[in-house]
Symmetry: C2
């Protein structure tokens, strides 16, 4: 149990995954609020929208048509942030030249996918059952498996899942010719989190470089392992199961916690209990239990403020191209960063001080976990329908 | 001149101040936008609002009253994120104990100020003249000077400015008894940047710890200095004055650039041309020229999309309590992080990929600088009045 005193004093907490500190001001939610209020998002969407470029059978911006798919469907983003082929760029890197030091650039190639969660325009992960979420996880797993490098330490696991998880009947994506380094699966949910289409979907960006965040996490997990001989997230899961005060939910395979170092008001982390390096390590039962964990988070979020709760979520796991040691260091987990703080309409802004000095949060992660523990049960809008 | 090829390819750029990379996708603004649109903020505010807790003469939330001040006025925030005195907290730090490694916390004390820029409720820095902004800079300087540690290397400069810059006739803040480590001056402008009151004001948070961002900058500036024998921002200013493509504006003492590593669409950096370690190093002429630079940025921002442009800004300079070497390493600069991307209503969201993987921007800093160079001239709303 953390010292009770932390509920009433300003303090910093350390994030061991990123190696950085954040400021916690538990007493601060008492201040009055005259700023922006979010419009609560009512779910008044049709289950099929003829203008939506993600609905089954519809035409997309660049002319392709979606098949009449039944559950999930993946395709290459028509407006990818990275391109597979582009003009060559070879920056000069002369260590004595000021421009080489201060104007550094490197080319990045890659491919971005969009993956729908459901054929229904008005569904969200909170409305879906774990069994309906399993096909999403299966597709993530197949895409990850098919994009691994030829020498990847998880190749036999990949071969196994590719031969046991059925192909998507509506078509599958095949990997690009050039081997890529990393795959980032993420969802932006809700207009408050920059989502430009309410049709339930996530994105998958694969890149020739290892991005900053998973890179930092690997460095810190590696350091912990070489210092202690144990896994950072393995130790952390045990600790949270003992302490219980930041625990939101668990099943056999996963825990859901508001991490000690949570920055966003109701930030949660889904962590595998055993050492899972990537999606391809999960067996059938674990994929279902992962779907349950994701559903629990999504439903509890919606129940918390009785709203369609916005968030960004993302999975961290072993890179697509990595050494045995890097794969061994990786520990499968999923982050959820939701902006809402006090109600469906008041969000936490990470602005001035947070950007210029240090991330700052108001309520403690322990207070957030207590609230999320209390709002399981049926999805609030079920009884409204 | 950076290779023209960077205008059309995806690439990463390195931020030498923070030591991290970001992803640039110049081709990406072509995608359609169906997401959230900001409401353009019209300036229909009264110049005095009887309900505003910042207007002269009004009562504040906790009962204190503002004096009938004429230009700027500073007071201790009624809802500070950090407190001056609080219960003691002594975390256990046993290196072999898992909880000491993974549940790390440290107490933080401090004091937060609010500082109004103008007595007028409806003014902004863009509406004010440089001469009207000078009192704001004078107040920043006096507060910084009066909060320095007794052994601070800039103490003689501080004594000089305290004896030459006139006191604020409406009252001044005095430093807390316990010496603090750092002072962060920042402004959140506009509801989109979490500002809860449109009355023009900034905040000043002083803390017993050095926050993450200035801490990282000091580490990277120190490393550059020990590697090259020169100042990182000194070299950078020279480079940008030569290249000119990211230069927005300059006067004798300051440059305004869209930095090579800008993350926010129209991010700018004001940097002193000579080695200024902190506000107290500026002389009368330089304080006026700093006011000009701030006014240029604010006015060009408003002119860009003909709107009351939101941003967070913040000053980085030598800490309140630091060694000779740390003061020598510091180089005065001011960051502006504005969220708008395409118009008064479409902003850039730093969400899923940005939070989970790596910050990503769409237009290049060179394109942003060209637009900001072109929108000097009179404030667009002057001719509307
Ligand atoms: O103190 P204010 O203006 O009410 O609050 C604003 O600035 C603070 C410092 O950046 C943030 O922590 C808050 O989220 C934001 O709404
Ligand atoms: O690709 P989308 O959903 O149109 O765009 C959204 O997610 C991207 C990845 O996090 C961000 O770069 C965009 O700012 C955001 O609006």
């Amino acid at each position: 149990m953390p010292d009770e005193v932390l509920n009433d004093i300003s303090h910093r907490r350390y994030n061991p995954l990123t190696g950085s500190w954040l400021l916690v001001s538990p007493h601060r939610t008492k201040r009055p609020w005259q700023g922006a209020q979010e419009t609560p998002s009512k779910n008044t969407l049709p289950s099929y929208d003829p203008k939506c470029y993600l609905c089954p059978g519809n035409k997309r911006a660049q002319g392709d048509s979606n098949p009449p798919y039944k559950s999930t469907f993946a395709f290459v983003n028509d407006y990818s942030a990275v391109k597979e082929t582009q003009q060559d760029y070879h920056p000069e890197t002369n260590k004595d030249d000021v421009a080489s030091l201060l104007l550094q650039a490197r080319p990045v190639t890659g491919r971005c996918y969009v993956l729908t969660f459901s054929a229904k325009h008005d569904a969200t992960l909170a409305d879906m059952t774990p069994e309906e979420i399993v096909p999403v996880i299966n597709t993530w797993t197949r895409i990850y498996a098919s994009h691994l490098s030829p020498s990847h330490p998880l190749n036999s696991q990949a071969a196994y899942v590719l031969s046991t998880i059925p192909e998507n009947p509506d078509g599958e994506v095949t990997p690009p010719k050039h081997q890529l380094k990393n795959m980032q699966i993420f969802e932006n949910k809700g207009a408050a989190m920059g989502c430009s289409n309410p049709h339930p979907h996530c994105q998958i960006w694969t890149t020739s470089t290892l991005p900053e965040e998973p890179g930092k996490e690997l460095v810190n997990m590696r350091k912990y392992k070489s210092d202690t001989g144990r896994h950072l997230l393995g130790d952390y899961v045990k600790l949270e199961l003992e302490k219980k005060e930041r625990l939101v939910w668990e099943n056999d395979s996963f825990v859901v916690v508001c991490p000690w170092w949570a920055l966003w008001p109701f930030e949660v982390l889904i962590i595998s209990k055993r050492h899972v390096r990537a999606l391809v390590d999960l067996d059938d039962k674990e994929r279902l239990e992962f779907a349950q964990a994701v559903q629990e988070v999504a439903r509890r979020y919606d129940n918390l403020f009785e709203t369609n709760f916005p968030y960004s979520s993302g999975i961290h796991q072993a890179p697509l191209d990595c050494t045995e040691e890097e794969a061994e260091t990786s520990w499968f987990h999923m982050h959820f960063y939701p902006p809402l703080l006090r109600s469906a309409t008041v969000k936490k802004f990470l602005v001035g001080y947070e950007l210029m000095a240090e991330p700052q949060r108001d309520i403690t992660p322990e207070q957030a976990a207590a609230k999320l523990r209390d709002c399981g049960g049926e999805l609030y809008r079920k009884s409204l329908q």
